[in-house]
Symmetry: C2
């Protein structure tokens, strides 16, 4: 392709028309949210420095998700107000200009990005520059080692000492969703719950015939019919298989059917888990072991949600859920109780996780803020010999943090769904 490539086919261009205008969202966040937060964190400039191949996870937010050559997206105070500058290859200017996000789009040709970036850094003369690297936050760890070394090569002596991680800044700036983003996620969550309710019923499932793949296909087809897009689908019957796609495993009486499913609405993803149990002929209730797993999972989920308030450290949310599960005699789940959602299913924001330094480090230390949106999913992994191995019951709700606490999006699952 020509250096000006067009990564999105025209089919996507028309789909874009239906999206919440990304340019508007980006511009509002950069102009209405970023400056105050930069001041709060003592940051003079924020730099995203990326290129095609390993595009920065925050590339979308600065309209750099379609660049080919090296691009610098630089926001810094100049005379007390925020200057917004993009520097990019001459063939990459169009998306930056069209985004409306920048006051200046500076193109480079054979001289490369270096001299222009150096000039702008000199002009802004920041004491403290946030760049996108983080030990613990994948979505804020976008700068590659090659780009980092090139940045030091370009910016000159003493620059490295000015650099700080954008982690805390972005947890807040990108973690907090605008009202229109919350609305999009809420509509996605409501649709997801509806589709799952339809799918996990005897109208859709014939025990002994329907497979996991059949359920997956129904979820996909129904999502498209209703005008949404599939974000991800997991349908698991029987023992947990970890990170796996639906298979041709047939669903039978006595099965636990666990679904983990999200849809995109206006570019934003939901993330909902539901579980159903298929009663055996003559059975009126699921086995006690299953019932007890469900009840405990439900209590853990509600304990997490009850703990969520502005200012509460993320680790406390996980602790509330983990305690319920451990006190009931189950093993701890080997991961966090929840994560931010947004344009990604694992979006930028605090992680509702335990204090395991190796795994989560600082991610669980951030405080919750009004406007952050999370998927909450404490879980039990438990060996049930009657099911043939380690199973989970899936229960996951999406919530938004409001002034007084967490509000659940849509209608939460309150009882194990029984199919008979």
């Amino acid at each position: 392709m020509t250096p000006p490539p067009s990564p999105r086919p025209p089919g996507d261009a028309s789909a874009d028309a239906a999206l919440l205008d990304p340019n508007r969202v980006r511009l509002r966040r950069i102009t209405e949210v970023l400056p105050a937060k930069m001041k709060q964190y003592g940051i003079d400039a924020w730099l995203t420095f990326t290129r095609e191949g390993a595009t920065d996870a925050l590339g979308w937010d600065v309209a750099a998700d379609r660049v080919v050559g090296r691009a610098a997206c630089l926001f810094g105070f100049l005379g007390g107000r925020l200057a917004r500058v993009a520097i990019c290859a001459s063939y990459d200017v169009t998306p930056f200009i069209e985004s409306g996000l920048y006051e200046q789009v500076v193109p480079y040709k054979r001289e490369g990005i270096g001299p222009h970036l150096k000039e702008w850094l000199d002009k802004l003369d920041p004491r403290k520059v946030a760049i996108n690297f983080s030990r613990d936050a994948p979505n804020i760890d976008g700068i590659t080692l090659g780009m980092y070394r090139y940045l030091l090569e370009v910016a000159g002596a003493g620059f490295e000492e000015k650099l700080v991680s954008a982690e805390a800044l972005m947890m807040s700036v990108k973690g907090v969703k605008l009202p229109e983003e919350v609305a999009a996620i809420e509509q996605a969550a409501v649709a997801t719950q509806r589709i799952l309710r339809e799918a996990l019923s005897l109208e859709r499932i014939t025990p002994g015939r329907t497979t996991e793949l059949d359920v997956g296909r129904y979820l996909e087809q129904r999502t498209n019919e209703l005008g949404f897009k599939v974000s991800f689908i997991s349908v698991v019957v029987g023992p947990d298989r970890g990170h796996a796609d639906p298979t041709d495993r047939v669903i039978a009486h006595g099965d636990l059917l666990r679904t983990d499913f999200g849809v995109f609405h206006q570019g934003y993803s939901s993330d909902i888990q539901r579980t159903a149990y298929l009663l055996r002929p003559g059975e009126r209730q699921p086995p006690d072991a299953v019932r007890r797993m469900w009840d405990t999972t439900l209590r853990a989920n509600r304990a997490a949600i009850a703990a969520m308030k502005p200012g509460v450290q993320a680790v406390k949310v996980d602790a509330a859920a983990r305690q319920v599960i451990v006190e009931a005699g189950y093993d701890e789940y080997p991961h966090a109780a929840g994560h931010a959602i947004g344009i990604k299913v694992h979006d930028t924001g605090p992680v509702l996780g335990p204090d395991w330094k190796e795994r989560y480090g600082t991610l669980v230390r951030h405080g919750l803020e009004e406007g952050q949106v999370f998927a909450v999913e404490p879980m039990i992994y438990h060996d049930l010999p009657e099911v043939g191995g380690v199973v989970q019951v899936g229960l996951e709700e999406d919530v938004v943090i409001e002034r007084s606490g967490a509000r659940v999006l849509g209608t939460p699952q309150t009882e194990l769904w029984l199919l008979e």
Copy 2:
């Protein structure tokens, strides 16, 4: 979503069945190509260290493109043979196991990846470890700064001195395509040429009525009809707009219509440019200025292809094309004459570019190898007042390097297509 998320909906699972088996390709490359090349470059171990959010550009090649938590894909000599080890979060094991690429898949839970990675590095005890970073090659610059610092934290003192860039190794290992990969690209190129030939005709274009978007939609529809998938589409009438999608600009008599278009076949992308000119009523030939641009572009394209042989430095290919254009009195094109293609449209491989250190650095210094596949596209950007600005004629061919030189895939364009 649960920590074991399923990023691909089931619809993709069925599409996968039609793909060239990625597991087979990966395994062949790792077992049949990698060991000898590691020895050639004096590399004792190759490590891809990545996670979700900014997944390494070489993640596909080591089956790490679906990981969530930190994952280490480690290949190193142990007792003279290549050990293949993946270390990943407990919920990420399935794709690694299913890939068949690893002898050992080591899961971690709350202790994190650190102790396991340290143990394996100690066991392999390499003197020289290649990791995926590069100043100049985006596709070999996958390790993020956060992951790099974490690696140093985990591996302990003295490890940094053992690290070298995987650039040269991967230019060769990943740059050289297996015969079945070449075949897939060739079929994609042939289909692309066919679809473009159909699209750029008066059967599809009514001057004064058809728009760029109409042409784009036809390309997409026809691609799907023929069982391929769109890789990217660019359709430009009139002056160059850089990196832009098709618009509702109407195609008229006297227009140059330039297309840059690729399709996926079995997961591999073509990349072809074609140009047509719509004669004005009474016109038998395009204006001299257009004709001269076309002839020069064609000669430059053929000069580049003629220069391509195993062992030839990539910069020499660009020089051959650039010379034709400059000698004809046109400005130099502000980019490379070509790039590798494969599972990405800009794939890993030498860049057929000029010796501009800032832009291309070492990328143009690598020698061509048998089995590498390139898109060749030297171009002219020239101000044609009669068209209203700077225009290009698009001519781009896909070629594979064979023992005796470059072989063009499919049927090259030899004349400017005239629509009257």
